[in-house]
Subunit: 257 residues, 2 copies
DNA sequence: CAGTGGTCTAGACCACATC
DNA sequence: ATGTGGTCTAGACCACTGG
Protein backbone atom coordinates (compact mmCIF):
# COMPACT_ATOMS: atom_id res chain seq x y z
CA UNK A 1 0.00 0.00 0.00
CA UNK A 2 2.84 2.40 0.77
CA UNK A 3 5.29 1.02 -1.71
CA UNK A 4 4.85 3.26 -4.75
CA UNK A 5 5.58 6.97 -4.89
CA UNK A 6 3.07 7.63 -7.66
CA UNK A 7 0.20 6.13 -5.71
CA UNK A 8 -2.64 8.62 -5.37
CA UNK A 9 -2.89 8.87 -1.63
CA UNK A 10 -5.77 11.28 -2.03
CA UNK A 11 -7.81 9.16 -4.39
CA UNK A 12 -11.39 9.18 -3.28
CA UNK A 13 -12.99 5.83 -2.69
CA UNK A 14 -15.31 4.41 -5.28
CA UNK A 15 -18.32 5.34 -3.20
CA UNK A 16 -18.86 8.97 -2.34
CA UNK A 17 -22.57 9.51 -2.20
CA UNK A 18 -22.53 12.95 -0.67
CA UNK A 19 -19.80 14.57 -2.75
CA UNK A 20 -21.46 17.45 -4.62
CA UNK A 21 -19.36 17.13 -7.78
CA UNK A 22 -18.88 13.44 -8.37
CA UNK A 23 -15.84 12.37 -10.34
CA UNK A 24 -15.45 8.73 -11.31
CA UNK A 25 -12.32 6.91 -10.25
CA UNK A 26 -11.23 6.28 -13.81
CA UNK A 27 -11.38 10.01 -14.51
CA UNK A 28 -9.02 10.61 -11.62
CA UNK A 29 -6.69 7.94 -12.95
CA UNK A 30 -6.92 9.60 -16.34
CA UNK A 31 -5.94 12.94 -14.86
CA UNK A 32 -2.98 11.37 -13.09
CA UNK A 33 -1.82 9.69 -16.28
CA UNK A 34 -2.24 12.92 -18.24
CA UNK A 35 -0.16 14.80 -15.70
CA UNK A 36 2.58 12.20 -15.93
CA UNK A 37 2.51 12.34 -19.71
CA UNK A 38 2.72 16.12 -19.59
CA UNK A 39 5.64 16.02 -17.17
CA UNK A 40 7.56 13.84 -19.62
CA UNK A 41 7.65 10.82 -17.33
CA UNK A 42 7.40 8.70 -20.47
CA UNK A 43 8.82 9.96 -23.76
CA UNK A 44 6.87 9.95 -27.03
CA UNK A 45 7.07 6.52 -28.62
CA UNK A 46 7.92 4.79 -25.34
CA UNK A 47 5.61 2.33 -23.65
CA UNK A 48 3.88 3.16 -20.40
CA UNK A 49 3.59 0.53 -17.64
CA UNK A 50 1.20 -2.36 -18.23
CA UNK A 51 -2.39 -2.13 -17.11
CA UNK A 52 -1.71 -4.59 -14.32
CA UNK A 53 1.24 -2.52 -13.11
CA UNK A 54 -0.77 0.67 -13.15
CA UNK A 55 -3.69 -0.98 -11.41
CA UNK A 56 -1.36 -2.05 -8.62
CA UNK A 57 0.33 1.39 -8.45
CA UNK A 58 -3.00 3.18 -8.24
CA UNK A 59 -4.60 0.53 -6.09
CA UNK A 60 -7.58 0.07 -8.36
CA UNK A 61 -8.78 -2.76 -10.56
CA UNK A 62 -7.43 -3.37 -14.05
CA UNK A 63 -10.79 -2.49 -15.53
CA UNK A 64 -10.66 0.99 -14.07
CA UNK A 65 -7.19 1.64 -15.47
CA UNK A 66 -8.44 0.22 -18.75
CA UNK A 67 -11.22 2.72 -19.00
CA UNK A 68 -8.85 5.60 -18.28
CA UNK A 69 -6.41 4.41 -20.94
CA UNK A 70 -9.28 3.83 -23.38
CA UNK A 71 -10.22 7.48 -23.18
CA UNK A 72 -6.65 8.68 -23.55
CA UNK A 73 -6.24 6.42 -26.56
CA UNK A 74 -9.47 7.84 -27.96
CA UNK A 75 -7.98 11.32 -27.65
CA UNK A 76 -4.84 10.15 -29.46
CA UNK A 77 -2.58 10.72 -26.48
CA UNK A 78 -1.79 7.02 -26.21
CA UNK A 79 -1.71 4.16 -28.67
CA UNK A 80 -2.63 0.61 -27.69
CA UNK A 81 -0.93 -2.31 -29.37
CA UNK A 82 -2.24 -5.72 -28.50
CA UNK A 83 0.42 -8.05 -27.22
CA UNK A 84 3.01 -5.28 -27.01
CA UNK A 85 1.82 -2.57 -24.68
CA UNK A 86 0.50 0.98 -24.59
CA UNK A 87 2.64 3.72 -26.09
CA UNK A 88 2.89 7.47 -25.92
CA UNK A 89 1.63 8.92 -29.19
CA UNK A 90 4.16 10.69 -31.37
CA UNK A 91 4.31 12.68 -34.58
CA UNK A 92 7.56 11.00 -35.61
CA UNK A 93 6.74 7.40 -36.27
CA UNK A 94 4.71 6.35 -39.28
CA UNK A 95 3.82 8.41 -42.31
CA UNK A 96 0.24 8.55 -41.15
CA UNK A 97 1.19 9.75 -37.67
CA UNK A 98 3.48 12.37 -39.19
CA UNK A 99 0.65 13.79 -41.28
CA UNK A 100 -2.17 13.24 -38.83
CA UNK A 101 -3.27 16.87 -39.00
CA UNK A 102 -2.92 17.29 -42.76
CA UNK A 103 -6.28 17.37 -44.51
CA UNK A 104 -5.14 18.26 -48.00
CA UNK A 105 -5.72 15.37 -50.41
CA UNK A 106 -5.46 14.73 -54.11
CA UNK A 107 -8.67 15.08 -56.07
CA UNK A 108 -8.23 11.65 -57.64
CA UNK A 109 -8.22 10.07 -54.22
CA UNK A 110 -4.70 8.71 -54.35
CA UNK A 111 -2.54 9.01 -51.25
CA UNK A 112 0.37 11.36 -51.55
CA UNK A 113 2.43 13.08 -48.91
CA UNK A 114 3.89 16.48 -49.71
CA UNK A 115 7.48 17.67 -49.57
CA UNK A 116 8.06 20.61 -47.23
CA UNK A 117 10.41 23.52 -47.87
CA UNK A 118 11.07 26.02 -45.11
CA UNK A 119 11.45 29.41 -46.78
CA UNK A 120 12.51 31.53 -43.83
CA UNK A 121 12.40 32.02 -40.07
CA UNK A 122 11.94 35.46 -38.57
CA UNK A 123 11.71 36.91 -35.11
CA UNK A 124 8.80 39.27 -34.60
CA UNK A 125 6.25 40.76 -32.22
CA UNK A 126 2.85 39.14 -32.29
CA UNK A 127 -0.06 41.09 -33.72
CA UNK A 128 -3.16 41.72 -31.65
CA UNK A 129 -5.25 39.29 -33.66
CA UNK A 130 -2.85 36.36 -33.41
CA UNK A 131 -2.11 37.20 -29.78
CA UNK A 132 -5.75 36.59 -28.99
CA UNK A 133 -5.63 33.16 -30.59
CA UNK A 134 -2.40 32.26 -28.80
CA UNK A 135 -3.63 33.69 -25.49
CA UNK A 136 -0.52 35.81 -24.99
CA UNK A 137 -0.12 39.58 -24.58
CA UNK A 138 0.03 41.64 -27.75
CA UNK A 139 3.62 42.28 -28.70
CA UNK A 140 4.94 39.03 -27.20
CA UNK A 141 8.05 37.72 -28.93
CA UNK A 142 7.24 35.13 -31.57
CA UNK A 143 8.88 33.20 -34.38
CA UNK A 144 7.31 33.35 -37.81
CA UNK A 145 8.11 30.55 -40.24
CA UNK A 146 7.10 30.55 -43.86
CA UNK A 147 6.84 27.22 -45.54
CA UNK A 148 5.87 25.76 -48.88
CA UNK A 149 4.31 22.35 -49.40
CA UNK A 150 4.76 20.69 -52.78
CA UNK A 151 2.73 17.75 -53.99
CA UNK A 152 4.61 15.91 -56.71
CA UNK A 153 6.75 18.99 -57.16
CA UNK A 154 3.76 21.29 -57.55
CA UNK A 155 3.63 24.11 -54.99
CA UNK A 156 0.23 23.79 -53.31
CA UNK A 157 0.22 25.22 -49.79
CA UNK A 158 1.97 28.32 -48.49
CA UNK A 159 2.03 28.39 -44.70
CA UNK A 160 2.85 31.18 -42.30
CA UNK A 161 3.39 29.74 -38.85
CA UNK A 162 3.55 31.77 -35.65
CA UNK A 163 5.10 30.24 -32.54
CA UNK A 164 5.52 31.66 -29.05
CA UNK A 165 9.28 32.24 -28.95
CA UNK A 166 9.71 31.27 -25.32
CA UNK A 167 8.70 27.67 -26.06
CA UNK A 168 10.97 27.27 -29.08
CA UNK A 169 14.25 28.78 -27.88
CA UNK A 170 17.06 28.48 -30.39
CA UNK A 171 14.96 27.43 -33.35
CA UNK A 172 16.83 28.18 -36.56
CA UNK A 173 16.32 27.38 -40.21
CA UNK A 174 19.51 25.31 -40.21
CA UNK A 175 18.31 23.20 -37.29
CA UNK A 176 15.00 22.62 -39.02
CA UNK A 177 16.56 21.72 -42.35
CA UNK A 178 18.78 19.16 -40.63
CA UNK A 179 15.74 17.39 -39.18
CA UNK A 180 14.17 14.39 -40.88
CA UNK A 181 10.43 14.21 -40.52
CA UNK A 182 7.37 16.35 -40.07
CA UNK A 183 7.25 19.77 -38.49
CA UNK A 184 5.31 18.55 -35.47
CA UNK A 185 7.82 15.74 -35.10
CA UNK A 186 10.52 18.41 -35.07
CA UNK A 187 8.74 20.42 -32.38
CA UNK A 188 8.23 17.28 -30.35
CA UNK A 189 11.78 15.96 -30.37
CA UNK A 190 13.65 19.28 -30.32
CA UNK A 191 11.50 21.33 -27.96
CA UNK A 192 9.31 18.83 -26.16
CA UNK A 193 6.19 20.58 -27.44
CA UNK A 194 3.51 18.09 -28.36
CA UNK A 195 0.62 19.12 -30.57
CA UNK A 196 -2.46 17.25 -29.41
CA UNK A 197 -5.42 18.98 -30.97
CA UNK A 198 -6.15 21.82 -33.39
CA UNK A 199 -9.03 24.00 -34.48
CA UNK A 200 -9.24 25.18 -38.06
CA UNK A 201 -11.25 27.92 -39.71
CA UNK A 202 -11.49 27.87 -43.48
CA UNK A 203 -12.27 30.73 -45.80
CA UNK A 204 -11.99 31.48 -49.48
CA UNK A 205 -9.72 34.34 -50.52
CA UNK A 206 -8.12 35.80 -53.64
CA UNK A 207 -4.41 35.30 -54.22
CA UNK A 208 -2.30 38.41 -53.72
CA UNK A 209 0.75 39.03 -55.90
CA UNK A 210 3.38 37.33 -53.78
CA UNK A 211 1.20 34.33 -52.96
CA UNK A 212 0.20 33.94 -56.59
CA UNK A 213 3.85 33.85 -57.52
CA UNK A 214 4.79 31.29 -54.86
CA UNK A 215 1.91 28.97 -55.78
CA UNK A 216 2.22 29.60 -59.53
CA UNK A 217 -1.35 30.69 -59.95
CA UNK A 218 -2.87 33.80 -61.48
CA UNK A 219 -3.21 36.95 -59.39
CA UNK A 220 -6.63 36.92 -57.81
CA UNK A 221 -7.15 33.18 -58.13
CA UNK A 222 -9.39 31.72 -55.45
CA UNK A 223 -7.49 30.01 -52.65
CA UNK A 224 -8.41 28.27 -49.45
CA UNK A 225 -7.29 30.17 -46.39
CA UNK A 226 -6.92 27.70 -43.52
CA UNK A 227 -6.28 29.23 -40.11
CA UNK A 228 -5.23 26.81 -37.42
CA UNK A 229 -4.67 27.10 -33.70
CA UNK A 230 -2.86 24.06 -32.33
CA UNK A 231 -3.03 23.10 -28.66
CA UNK A 232 -0.81 21.13 -26.32
CA UNK A 233 -1.62 19.71 -22.86
CA UNK A 234 -4.19 21.61 -20.87
CA UNK A 235 -5.60 23.20 -24.03
CA UNK A 236 -2.69 25.61 -24.15
CA UNK A 237 -2.46 27.17 -27.62
CA UNK A 238 1.11 27.12 -28.93
CA UNK A 239 0.88 27.57 -32.67
CA UNK A 240 -1.06 29.82 -34.99
CA UNK A 241 -0.90 28.98 -38.65
CA UNK A 242 -2.36 30.51 -41.77
CA UNK A 243 -2.18 28.33 -44.86
CA UNK A 244 -3.07 29.40 -48.36
CA UNK A 245 -3.93 26.46 -50.56
CA UNK A 246 -4.52 26.02 -54.27
CA UNK A 247 -7.33 23.67 -55.10
CA UNK A 248 -6.61 22.96 -58.75
CA UNK A 249 -5.72 19.33 -58.15
CA UNK A 250 -6.21 19.06 -54.39
CA UNK A 251 -8.89 19.68 -51.82
CA UNK A 252 -9.45 19.86 -48.09
CA UNK A 253 -11.01 16.61 -46.85
CA UNK A 254 -13.26 16.24 -43.85
CA UNK A 255 -15.50 13.59 -42.36
CA UNK A 256 -18.72 14.40 -40.54
CA UNK A 257 -20.33 12.02 -38.11
CA UNK B 1 -34.33 -19.33 -23.49
CA UNK B 2 -36.82 -19.83 -26.26
CA UNK B 3 -39.09 -16.97 -25.40
CA UNK B 4 -37.81 -14.17 -27.61
CA UNK B 5 -37.91 -14.09 -31.36
CA UNK B 6 -34.96 -11.73 -31.69
CA UNK B 7 -32.62 -14.04 -29.83
CA UNK B 8 -29.59 -14.83 -31.98
CA UNK B 9 -29.67 -18.59 -32.05
CA UNK B 10 -26.50 -18.60 -34.11
CA UNK B 11 -24.42 -16.45 -31.78
CA UNK B 12 -21.01 -18.02 -31.44
CA UNK B 13 -19.84 -18.79 -27.96
CA UNK B 14 -17.37 -16.52 -26.23
CA UNK B 15 -14.53 -18.92 -26.88
CA UNK B 16 -13.62 -19.83 -30.40
CA UNK B 17 -9.91 -20.49 -30.50
CA UNK B 18 -9.72 -22.00 -33.97
CA UNK B 19 -11.92 -19.59 -35.90
CA UNK B 20 -9.69 -17.97 -38.49
CA UNK B 21 -11.38 -14.56 -38.39
CA UNK B 22 -12.25 -13.92 -34.78
CA UNK B 23 -15.13 -11.59 -34.06
CA UNK B 24 -15.83 -10.55 -30.50
CA UNK B 25 -19.26 -11.21 -29.09
CA UNK B 26 -19.99 -7.54 -28.57
CA UNK B 27 -19.31 -6.91 -32.26
CA UNK B 28 -21.90 -9.51 -33.15
CA UNK B 29 -24.35 -7.87 -30.78
CA UNK B 30 -23.52 -4.55 -32.37
CA UNK B 31 -24.26 -5.96 -35.82
CA UNK B 32 -27.58 -7.35 -34.63
CA UNK B 33 -28.54 -4.03 -33.09
CA UNK B 34 -27.50 -2.17 -36.24
CA UNK B 35 -29.63 -4.47 -38.35
CA UNK B 36 -32.62 -3.88 -36.11
CA UNK B 37 -32.07 -0.13 -36.23
CA UNK B 38 -31.85 -0.29 -39.99
CA UNK B 39 -35.03 -2.33 -40.25
CA UNK B 40 -36.88 0.36 -38.32
CA UNK B 41 -37.63 -1.87 -35.34
CA UNK B 42 -37.27 1.23 -33.19
CA UNK B 43 -38.13 4.66 -34.61
CA UNK B 44 -35.81 7.66 -34.35
CA UNK B 45 -36.23 9.31 -30.97
CA UNK B 46 -37.66 6.17 -29.37
CA UNK B 47 -35.87 4.26 -26.66
CA UNK B 48 -34.47 0.82 -27.28
CA UNK B 49 -34.83 -1.92 -24.63
CA UNK B 50 -32.75 -1.59 -21.49
CA UNK B 51 -29.32 -3.14 -21.28
CA UNK B 52 -30.62 -5.80 -18.94
CA UNK B 53 -33.43 -6.68 -21.34
CA UNK B 54 -31.06 -6.91 -24.27
CA UNK B 55 -28.58 -8.96 -22.28
CA UNK B 56 -31.35 -11.45 -21.50
CA UNK B 57 -32.60 -11.42 -25.11
CA UNK B 58 -29.13 -12.08 -26.49
CA UNK B 59 -28.13 -14.36 -23.67
CA UNK B 60 -24.98 -12.46 -22.85
CA UNK B 61 -23.88 -10.38 -19.90
CA UNK B 62 -24.90 -6.78 -19.46
CA UNK B 63 -21.29 -5.69 -19.90
CA UNK B 64 -21.17 -7.15 -23.38
CA UNK B 65 -24.34 -5.36 -24.44
CA UNK B 66 -22.89 -2.25 -22.89
CA UNK B 67 -19.81 -2.35 -25.03
CA UNK B 68 -21.88 -2.81 -28.17
CA UNK B 69 -24.10 0.12 -27.28
CA UNK B 70 -21.07 2.21 -26.35
CA UNK B 71 -19.73 1.86 -29.88
CA UNK B 72 -23.05 2.63 -31.49
CA UNK B 73 -23.37 5.69 -29.29
CA UNK B 74 -19.85 6.68 -30.31
CA UNK B 75 -20.94 6.50 -33.93
CA UNK B 76 -23.95 8.70 -33.16
CA UNK B 77 -26.48 5.99 -34.00
CA UNK B 78 -27.71 5.86 -30.42
CA UNK B 79 -27.84 8.36 -27.58
CA UNK B 80 -27.48 7.31 -23.95
CA UNK B 81 -29.32 9.21 -21.25
CA UNK B 82 -28.52 8.24 -17.71
CA UNK B 83 -31.57 7.30 -15.73
CA UNK B 84 -33.83 7.38 -18.78
CA UNK B 85 -32.60 4.89 -21.32
CA UNK B 86 -30.89 4.60 -24.68
CA UNK B 87 -32.50 6.31 -27.66
CA UNK B 88 -32.30 6.12 -31.42
CA UNK B 89 -30.49 9.20 -32.71
CA UNK B 90 -32.51 11.65 -34.76
CA UNK B 91 -32.04 14.85 -36.74
CA UNK B 92 -35.31 16.24 -35.44
CA UNK B 93 -34.87 16.84 -31.75
CA UNK B 94 -32.62 19.60 -30.46
CA UNK B 95 -31.16 22.52 -32.40
CA UNK B 96 -27.74 20.93 -32.12
CA UNK B 97 -28.93 17.57 -33.42
CA UNK B 98 -30.69 19.31 -36.30
CA UNK B 99 -27.49 21.04 -37.39
CA UNK B 100 -25.06 18.28 -36.51
CA UNK B 101 -23.53 18.30 -39.99
CA UNK B 102 -23.39 22.05 -40.44
CA UNK B 103 -19.87 23.40 -40.10
CA UNK B 104 -20.47 27.00 -41.10
CA UNK B 105 -19.95 29.34 -38.16
CA UNK B 106 -19.84 33.06 -37.54
CA UNK B 107 -16.39 34.62 -37.49
CA UNK B 108 -17.05 36.25 -34.15
CA UNK B 109 -17.66 32.87 -32.57
CA UNK B 110 -21.29 33.44 -31.65
CA UNK B 111 -23.74 30.64 -32.21
CA UNK B 112 -26.29 31.26 -34.91
CA UNK B 113 -28.42 28.85 -36.87
CA UNK B 114 -29.38 29.77 -40.40
CA UNK B 115 -32.79 30.04 -42.01
CA UNK B 116 -33.31 27.75 -44.98
CA UNK B 117 -35.20 28.64 -48.14
CA UNK B 118 -35.89 25.96 -50.73
CA UNK B 119 -35.67 27.63 -54.14
CA UNK B 120 -36.82 24.79 -56.37
CA UNK B 121 -37.10 21.04 -56.84
CA UNK B 122 -36.42 19.45 -60.22
CA UNK B 123 -36.45 15.98 -61.64
CA UNK B 124 -33.34 15.12 -63.65
CA UNK B 125 -30.92 12.43 -64.82
CA UNK B 126 -27.74 12.13 -62.84
CA UNK B 127 -24.46 13.18 -64.43
CA UNK B 128 -21.58 10.74 -64.70
CA UNK B 129 -19.56 12.52 -62.02
CA UNK B 130 -22.31 12.59 -59.41
CA UNK B 131 -23.38 9.05 -60.34
CA UNK B 132 -19.94 7.85 -59.31
CA UNK B 133 -20.30 9.49 -55.91
CA UNK B 134 -23.79 8.11 -55.40
CA UNK B 135 -22.81 4.67 -56.69
CA UNK B 136 -25.69 4.52 -59.16
CA UNK B 137 -25.70 4.12 -62.96
CA UNK B 138 -25.21 7.25 -64.99
CA UNK B 139 -28.57 8.63 -66.06
CA UNK B 140 -30.43 7.34 -63.00
CA UNK B 141 -33.45 9.42 -62.06
CA UNK B 142 -32.64 11.96 -59.39
CA UNK B 143 -34.15 14.95 -57.64
CA UNK B 144 -32.20 18.18 -57.60
CA UNK B 145 -33.02 20.71 -54.90
CA UNK B 146 -31.60 24.19 -54.75
CA UNK B 147 -31.54 25.88 -51.42
CA UNK B 148 -30.35 29.09 -49.84
CA UNK B 149 -29.14 29.45 -46.27
CA UNK B 150 -29.38 32.88 -44.67
CA UNK B 151 -27.58 33.88 -41.50
CA UNK B 152 -29.32 36.81 -39.90
CA UNK B 153 -31.04 37.46 -43.20
CA UNK B 154 -27.77 37.50 -45.14
CA UNK B 155 -27.60 34.91 -47.94
CA UNK B 156 -24.50 32.85 -47.21
CA UNK B 157 -24.72 29.33 -48.64
CA UNK B 158 -26.23 28.22 -51.92
CA UNK B 159 -26.73 24.45 -52.01
CA UNK B 160 -27.50 22.14 -54.89
CA UNK B 161 -28.62 18.79 -53.55
CA UNK B 162 -28.91 15.62 -55.59
CA UNK B 163 -31.00 12.72 -54.26
CA UNK B 164 -31.65 9.30 -55.74
CA UNK B 165 -35.31 9.64 -56.76
CA UNK B 166 -36.28 6.09 -55.84
CA UNK B 167 -35.61 6.74 -52.16
CA UNK B 168 -37.53 10.02 -52.02
CA UNK B 169 -40.72 9.18 -53.89
CA UNK B 170 -43.23 12.01 -53.92
CA UNK B 171 -40.94 14.72 -52.62
CA UNK B 172 -42.31 18.12 -53.59
CA UNK B 173 -41.47 21.68 -52.71
CA UNK B 174 -44.85 22.07 -51.04
CA UNK B 175 -44.27 19.05 -48.82
CA UNK B 176 -40.87 20.38 -47.84
CA UNK B 177 -42.11 23.88 -47.11
CA UNK B 178 -44.81 22.46 -44.85
CA UNK B 179 -42.21 20.70 -42.73
CA UNK B 180 -40.80 22.22 -39.57
CA UNK B 181 -37.17 21.44 -38.96
CA UNK B 182 -33.96 20.61 -40.71
CA UNK B 183 -33.64 18.97 -44.11
CA UNK B 184 -32.23 15.77 -42.69
CA UNK B 185 -35.06 15.73 -40.19
CA UNK B 186 -37.42 15.98 -43.15
CA UNK B 187 -35.75 13.10 -44.94
CA UNK B 188 -35.86 11.04 -41.78
CA UNK B 189 -39.51 11.51 -40.90
CA UNK B 190 -40.96 11.63 -44.41
CA UNK B 191 -38.89 9.02 -46.20
CA UNK B 192 -37.23 7.01 -43.45
CA UNK B 193 -33.81 7.90 -44.83
CA UNK B 194 -31.36 8.51 -42.01
CA UNK B 195 -28.10 10.35 -42.70
CA UNK B 196 -25.44 8.86 -40.50
CA UNK B 197 -22.12 10.05 -41.85
CA UNK B 198 -20.78 12.32 -44.57
CA UNK B 199 -17.56 13.05 -46.39
CA UNK B 200 -16.79 16.56 -47.53
CA UNK B 201 -14.28 17.94 -50.02
CA UNK B 202 -13.61 21.65 -49.90
CA UNK B 203 -12.24 23.83 -52.65
CA UNK B 204 -11.98 27.52 -53.42
CA UNK B 205 -13.77 28.79 -56.52
CA UNK B 206 -14.81 32.06 -58.15
CA UNK B 207 -18.45 33.08 -58.08
CA UNK B 208 -20.22 32.81 -61.42
CA UNK B 209 -22.90 35.30 -62.38
CA UNK B 210 -25.94 33.53 -61.01
CA UNK B 211 -24.25 32.51 -57.78
CA UNK B 212 -22.87 35.99 -57.26
CA UNK B 213 -26.38 37.33 -57.61
CA UNK B 214 -27.90 34.84 -55.18
CA UNK B 215 -25.24 35.44 -52.54
CA UNK B 216 -25.05 39.20 -53.19
CA UNK B 217 -21.34 39.19 -53.86
CA UNK B 218 -19.29 40.48 -56.76
CA UNK B 219 -18.85 38.34 -59.84
CA UNK B 220 -15.64 36.36 -59.42
CA UNK B 221 -15.54 36.67 -55.65
CA UNK B 222 -13.81 33.76 -53.93
CA UNK B 223 -16.23 31.20 -52.47
CA UNK B 224 -15.90 27.94 -50.63
CA UNK B 225 -17.14 25.02 -52.67
CA UNK B 226 -18.14 22.24 -50.28
CA UNK B 227 -18.99 18.91 -51.89
CA UNK B 228 -20.64 16.39 -49.62
CA UNK B 229 -21.58 12.77 -49.99
CA UNK B 230 -23.89 11.64 -47.18
CA UNK B 231 -24.28 7.99 -46.22
CA UNK B 232 -26.97 5.95 -44.54
CA UNK B 233 -26.76 2.44 -43.06
CA UNK B 234 -24.24 0.14 -44.64
CA UNK B 235 -22.27 3.09 -46.04
CA UNK B 236 -24.87 3.54 -48.75
CA UNK B 237 -24.48 6.98 -50.35
CA UNK B 238 -27.84 8.71 -50.72
CA UNK B 239 -27.11 12.39 -51.13
CA UNK B 240 -24.67 14.45 -53.11
CA UNK B 241 -24.49 18.11 -52.28
CA UNK B 242 -22.51 21.01 -53.61
CA UNK B 243 -22.57 24.12 -51.45
CA UNK B 244 -21.16 27.49 -52.41
CA UNK B 245 -20.40 29.59 -49.38
CA UNK B 246 -19.42 33.20 -48.86
CA UNK B 247 -16.83 33.73 -46.18
CA UNK B 248 -17.19 37.42 -45.56
CA UNK B 249 -18.57 37.00 -42.07
CA UNK B 250 -18.57 33.21 -41.74
CA UNK B 251 -16.14 30.33 -42.06
CA UNK B 252 -16.03 26.56 -42.19
CA UNK B 253 -15.02 25.17 -38.79
CA UNK B 254 -13.19 21.93 -38.16
CA UNK B 255 -11.48 20.22 -35.26
CA UNK B 256 -8.43 18.02 -35.70
CA UNK B 257 -7.42 15.47 -33.15
C1' DC C 1 6.92 -19.65 -23.01
C1' DA C 2 5.58 -15.37 -20.45
C1' DG C 3 3.70 -10.84 -20.86
C1' DT C 4 0.66 -7.63 -23.03
C1' DG C 5 -3.77 -5.89 -24.31
C1' DG C 6 -8.75 -7.62 -25.42
C1' DT C 7 -13.04 -9.98 -24.14
C1' DC C 8 -16.53 -11.78 -21.05
C1' DT C 9 -18.83 -12.66 -16.83
C1' DA C 10 -21.45 -11.95 -12.40
C1' DG C 11 -22.39 -9.20 -9.01
C1' DA C 12 -22.38 -5.01 -6.19
C1' DC C 13 -23.28 -0.43 -5.74
C1' DC C 14 -23.89 4.61 -7.34
C1' DA C 15 -26.10 8.58 -9.84
C1' DC C 16 -30.01 10.10 -12.17
C1' DA C 17 -34.90 10.35 -13.64
C1' DT C 18 -39.58 9.31 -12.87
C1' DC C 19 -43.51 8.02 -10.49
C1' DA D 1 -39.65 2.95 -4.67
C1' DT D 2 -38.27 1.47 -9.06
C1' DG D 3 -35.86 1.33 -13.27
C1' DT D 4 -32.35 3.24 -16.10
C1' DG D 5 -27.54 3.93 -17.38
C1' DG D 6 -22.68 4.48 -15.04
C1' DT D 7 -18.87 2.77 -12.18
C1' DC D 8 -16.03 -0.67 -10.01
C1' DT D 9 -14.38 -5.15 -8.85
C1' DA D 10 -12.24 -9.87 -9.22
C1' DG D 11 -11.35 -13.40 -11.86
C1' DA D 12 -11.18 -16.24 -16.00
C1' DC D 13 -9.84 -16.89 -20.46
C1' DC D 14 -8.49 -15.41 -25.39
C1' DA D 15 -5.52 -13.25 -29.06
C1' DC D 16 -1.32 -11.30 -30.16
C1' DT D 17 3.79 -10.46 -29.73
C1' DG D 18 8.41 -11.61 -28.99
C1' DG D 19 12.12 -14.10 -26.82
Amino acid sequence: MSEVATLPANAVSATQADTPSFQPLYQQIKSLLTRQLESGEWRPGESIPSEIDLAARFNVSQGTVRKAIDELAGENLLIRRQGKGTFVATHTETQSSMFRFLRVRRNDGQDEYPASELLDVKRARVTAEVARSLEVPTGEAVLVLRRLLRYGGVPTVLDEITLVASMFKGLTKEQFDAFEGSMYGFFETQFGVRMLRAEEQIKAVSADTTTAEALRVGMGSPLLCVERVAYTYGDRPVEFRRGLCTTRSHHYANTLS
